[in-house]
Structures are given as C-alpha cells and as structure tokens.
Symmetry: C2
Subunit: 451 residues, 2 copies
Amino acid sequence: MAIQRKTSSPKPASTRSKNSAAAPNAAATPVKIALLGFGTVGSSVARVLASAKLPGVVLTHIFNRNVERKRSSDAAKCVPASVVWTEDFNEILNSDVQIVVELMGGLDPAESWLKKSFAAGKSVVTANKQLIAYRGASLFRLAAKNGVQLVHGAAVAGGVPVIPGILQGLSGDQITRISGIVNGTCNYILSRMESGAEYADVLADAQALGYAEANPSADVDGFDARAKLCILSRIALHAELDPDAVATQTISTIEAVDFAYARELGCTIRQVSRAQLDAKAKLVHARVAPMLVPQSSPIAWSHGTQNMVVTSGRFGGDVVFSGHGAGGEPTAVAVVSDILAVAQKSVAVDLPVRRREVTGEFLAPHYLRFVVDDKPGIVAAIAGALAEVGANIDSLLQRPGHTKQRLPFVITTEPCLTSTIEKAVAAIAKMPCMLESPLCLQILAPDDKAE
Amino acid sequence: MAIQRKTSSPKPASTRSKNSAAAPNAAATPVKIALLGFGTVGSSVARVLASAKLPGVVLTHIFNRNVERKRSSDAAKCVPASVVWTEDFNEILNSDVQIVVELMGGLDPAESWLKKSFAAGKSVVTANKQLIAYRGASLFRLAAKNGVQLVHGAAVAGGVPVIPGILQGLSGDQITRISGIVNGTCNYILSRMESGAEYADVLADAQALGYAEANPSADVDGFDARAKLCILSRIALHAELDPDAVATQTISTIEAVDFAYARELGCTIRQVSRAQLDAKAKLVHARVAPMLVPQSSPIAWSHGTQNMVVTSGRFGGDVVFSGHGAGGEPTAVAVVSDILAVAQKSVAVDLPVRRREVTGEFLAPHYLRFVVDDKPGIVAAIAGALAEVGANIDSLLQRPGHTKQRLPFVITTEPCLTSTIEKAVAAIAKMPCMLESPLCLQILAPDDKAE
C-alpha cells in the first residue's frame, strides 16, 4: 500500500471517477502496467487482470529472463496478444508504462531497477519483502522525491489486507504491539506437527508440495518472517527497525514431543513474529521464534499455510486479520489492489516514522525442554541453575513412555527476561547429562489473547 | 472510508508530506474539524484527537443539543479551551471547518445537514449506518458533485478496519460472499446463552450494561445488522441493496435448549449477516438471522461484543477481520482514521457499484426445533409435511430431561431452499400438538469455513 509521497502529485494518469450507482464508464486512457517477473505470482497477476475487467488499467509489458520459455507456457495463455514480452528492462524503462510491478524478489537488481523506474517517473508496486524491509526508508524517500508511488501491500501476508487495513483503518489508533503468523511454510510445518508428524517428514512434504525451498533456511530460521515483521513495525508502530538486529530462532529444533507437552499446557506451538513498542525507552522489543501459544489465542487458530496478524491498539484494542498469506492468486489480489490504488491516485495515510533500536528482551514465562540421560540429582541441578538467575519454576512435566536413558521432560517458568532465562539455559546445556541442547521457548501470555 | 469523488479535488487542505524516516514536520495549516454529537463516540473522538498528537488536524467546533450540559461534563475535560461549543449547526456551516464529523445517528436531520455541509465545501466523516445504508448512493453522488469526500469507515464493525481493508486491500479480488457478526449486542446475548443463560436474563444484563437499548428491537430483530450488511454489500460485492428488502429474523425466539442441541450438532448459534452475489442472476442472496454455525467456522470464534467479518473472494479465498465492533474508543479509532484520510486527501479505490435485487433464498441445511405435547404420530406427521415439500431429514435429536407434555426436539434437514422449508414449517405450525411456533434456523454449511 501507498506510504509516502504527497509532495507532488503522482505521475500515473488517474481513471475517471465512476458514478457509484451507475454502470462503469470506460476510463479515458487506461494506466499502462508492466510486470517484472512471470513466475507464480506474476502469472496470477496477469490472470486476475485478464479476468476481472478492472477499469482503468491495462497490462502492456512483461519482463522475464528467457522470456520465450515463459511466453509459450500455459500460464501465458491469459495474456493479451497486445502485450510486449521482453528480456530487456530498458525496453520497459523507455516505454510509456506508468506502473512497474516488481515480482522478482531479492535486493539486486530489484533495488536499482526500482530507482531507475522512479527516475523515469514510473510508480512501483512490489511484493518484495526483503527489499522493503532493508531498503524501504531510502526507497520511499526517493519515490516521494520523484513524485511517484511505491506500494507494497503484497509484501506481508499476501491476500490478507493487513497493510492497507492498518494504514487506512487504524491510523487513528496508537498501536503498541503486533504479533502474528506471517510465514505460511512454518505454519504448515508446525500445524502438521501438531497432528503428530515429525519435523523432518513434514519438511520433506512441504518441499514436495512447493511450500518450502530446497534450502528451507529463510523460512524455518525466521529470516522471511523477520523482514515482514520489520515492515509491519514500520506500518503499525511507526518504527523503522534494522532487520538484522531482530532476534530469530529456528523452528527446526521443535520435536513432536514438544507438541505433546504444549497440549498439556493448553497450548500449541507456532512461529510467532512479535514486536512491541516501548515508547518511553524508545525501543522496540522484537522477536521471531517458535513460541507456545495458548489454544484460546487467535494465533492458535491459524492452520496450514494461513497467515494471521493481531494488532493491539491503545484505543481500539486487539484487531485480527487472517487468511491466505501466500500462493499466486492471494498474493495477486494484493498486487492488483495496489495497482488499482496507484492508477486511481489513491495514496495511503502517511504518519511520521522513527528509527528505533531493537531488543530481543521480553518478560515472559518460558518453556524449557530437556532430553537427559536420567540420573538422580538432575532436577535439583537444573532448579539450582534457574534459582541462580532468579527464575522461578512454574511447573515440571514428565510424560510417560520414554526410557530413562533418553528422557525428555519439561520445566515452565514464571515470567522472566529472555536474557535471564538464556543465561540459565546456557549453564544447563553444559551439564553432562544433557543429550541435546535444551529447547527454550517463550510462552505467549494470556494478555496476548484477542479478547 | 472514502468511496467516490475523483471528479474534482477535495477541498480540505492536505497536511504536508512527512519524510518517513524523520521527525514529523508541523503541518502548514491544520485541517479544522467539527464534531456533531458529543455522546460516547463523540467524546472518545475528542479524547483520541487530544491524546494522539496527530499531525495536520485540529478540533475547532463541537455541536450538541443542550451544549452547556456537555461542556461541563467530565468527558469534556480533554477538549482544548479553544474549541467552540455550539447548539447551532449554522455556526459550523458558516465556519472555516473543513471536515464535519457526524455522530448523531438517524436519518433526520443528519441527511439534510450532510447535504448542507457538502454544499458549503465541507467533507463529512460519519459513523451513521442507517444513513449510509438508506441514502448512501445519492449522498456519495452529491459529495462527488461538490468535490468533497463522504467517508464512513466507522459505520460497520467500529474499530475493525473491514471497510478500509476491503476497499484498499481487496479491490483486486472478486468478492462473491460476505458473512459475519456485525451486531455486538446480539453477539453478547448469544455467546452468554451459549454458556447456559436464558434470553430474557441476558437481555436484562445487556440493558443494564448499556449494550442494549430499552427497546432492543433494532439489535435483536436484525435491523441494525441489516443496514451494516447493505453497506458491506456495496463495498465488497459492489451491489447496492434496498435495506428493507433484506430478510431478517429475530434472535428473541432462541432458547437455552437450542444451544444444547446446537452443541450436539458441533455448532453454536450466532446472529449471522450474510450476502452472496449471484452474478448470473444479477441477484444478491442476503439474510440477517440467528444461524447454526459450525464450531470450526471462524464465525463461531467471536465472543462477547466482538465483531467478525469473513469475505470470500474468487482469487484470494477467505479473509477474516475481527475485533471490537462497538464502544466509544474502538469506534473513535475508525472515525479518527477517516479524519486523517480526508485531511491527507487519501481517497479510497473506487469501483463501479450496481443496484441489485435481493432475495432471502439460500440453499442450506436447516435446524427445526419443535415444542410439542408429545402424542404418537407427531414425528410421522412432521416427516410427512417435510416430504410434501421435498425436504429430506438428516437427523432427529431428542435430549432427555423433558416432560412428554412439553417436549422440545429437533430435526435437521439436508440442504433445501429457504422458501421450501418455510412452507413446510408453516404447515407444521398449524398442527394441534405444537405448543410454540417451530423455530427454523439456517445451518451454515462447511464451505462457510474460512479454510
């Protein structure tokens, strides 16, 4: 969605205003659109544009490497014959295209192509989360300077209108916290594991289904979600964060047994991205990590590849957005909605954003799972290490059905700081009885419920 | 949220564009705001404006009848001394106020005051659902003609940004269906009944808490929700409906026993507002009624006064919006967000809207609850009446613990048309063994789940 620029009017010609209760008038001159990238999302955008008869916009150019292969694909059948296919970006730059739709991903060459587009007076619609998270601040400034728009409603949560909803509908609130599920791959993996499957098996399925990459690190280690959290932080908390400064924790160390213990605690496990504004300290507490989520929290409702974002506002309380966060067509809905907004000169509400430092510290109860070669004195030793840092034990759970030689058991703590519990866990990890690194997960507190 | 007008530029001065990563610049000339109505929402709007330091807007006038009583109230303490309090609307009309915020409700005098505001070059932000549902089409045209904005994000679901989310984030989809919970009073009553309370007791509590009016008809009989459904239909389905043509059914005939039977069927009961576009027939199927909702549906998640809206799009699938639909401060968030949008000349995406005929017909399974003086042959007679219209019985439920002299039991049917089942129910109602009018509720089908 549109963020900045009101210094000068955006260059794309607007469509004519429609009389709301009457038939649509054909726009005088439709706004010309170029797609950069004709993969899953790009071809879906072409399909939506072709089938929806949206007034005032027309697809005129498609850029892709090896463009002939794309042009002859089944996905290209919906593309009007009038569209120019090219593998030369300069052809688009030199054309009368007014909106460049960037769907290539990555920082390079996307960043330089966006800059060239701005300089050529073209607005940009992008789904590129890394680019917006890492280079957003300078790109928005540059777009404004050139009197064009840079909009990115598809960069977070695909077809779920979280970005436009917050920008246009919650600008009057003071949002202090956002939390949610913004990586569909992790949610697919964890909600399958909730039903009893093991991590490695589900990951293999996710790869076979195309939900996960051959190298799944960006998803499972939290880097994808981190970029999205930084974008949401900018939109909702008006806080610009350094994505590299946001703490992440992999979901790959979660095991089926953790879901069994989570269930005993009235919880499930999800990859949660959360950021909380500490206005006094001029800090943002932010973290992307697998967390224990109470079954009563809306965050636990998301299954499969669904996304969910909960905003907490000073005046409006909690608002939940949920739906399909990924996939070609849902993402295309966000892209096409942004195209219409730019074509109609519909600029979003623009509030000042500040650079904020990030901390990974949260005051929260924690879930600790140990796998030990059980000997007398282990619990006493662990309890001692926790007492050492001042962390209080809330419960100790040990499910039957495991051998003493490889015994997983769980301790939950009362609320304590992340750094405190991590210090204790580091000490406990060194104990000779530990067969695996202990797993330490934040437990979302009851006040994280949307009620 | 803004709907129309792009024919000429709106009159309110825009705030200066902010450099997104820098401190806010003071706007050159703040846009002046008048509140019409200083009740719960109006005083909350004043409080949000006073505490949020929003750039570029300033409250200058407050209209209310018996204005001295309001001015000396506790709620007025947050209002700056510079604000002019008046009980003469003409004082506002003749002032340099640029945005009139109408929070009086009702059709009269709101409608004529909006028209006068437009004629005076003033944009209007309103939370008035009846006015927008009944007079929206002509008012939007008039606003556009006068080059001003008419926005109404607070008219549906208060602090939940359903209207801006759909307008700005889902304009690229083709939404074919909306369903949801848009009346917090009914949701409070029904979710309390879900926990075992009786209707009359909960209604009395709701009245004591200020959730329900002394005459609760607008809420419990569905007229409030109907207006909101018509507004959503306009935004999401691009279909203008006659609110009076939308079928409604009261929740006041629901009894505690219905929740017990619903539970056996894996459901709960909610006042559901639903509208479905039948593009071929150029019709909209619409209904506001208590319905059986599967526990797996997101619509069943809403408790207390929460609102929830689910949109179903051809490309993006189901999207869920949920949060606080009523109350002063959540509604104020929507109003203030709209004020900012108008002040910043942020106009919403505008797609053509068509007038559509309405039908109350749905093809759905139904829940029928009878209270009878039990005699042999009753089930056979009811089954006969259902067979007569071609409705197939899916299940028959009879819970223990009731006397044969006053026996409630339930029949569910396979999917059949609303008019079909109503015909059978009318025939059954005439049977001498019936101690009450049979209760007939639509059961939301599994494909109404957001998955």
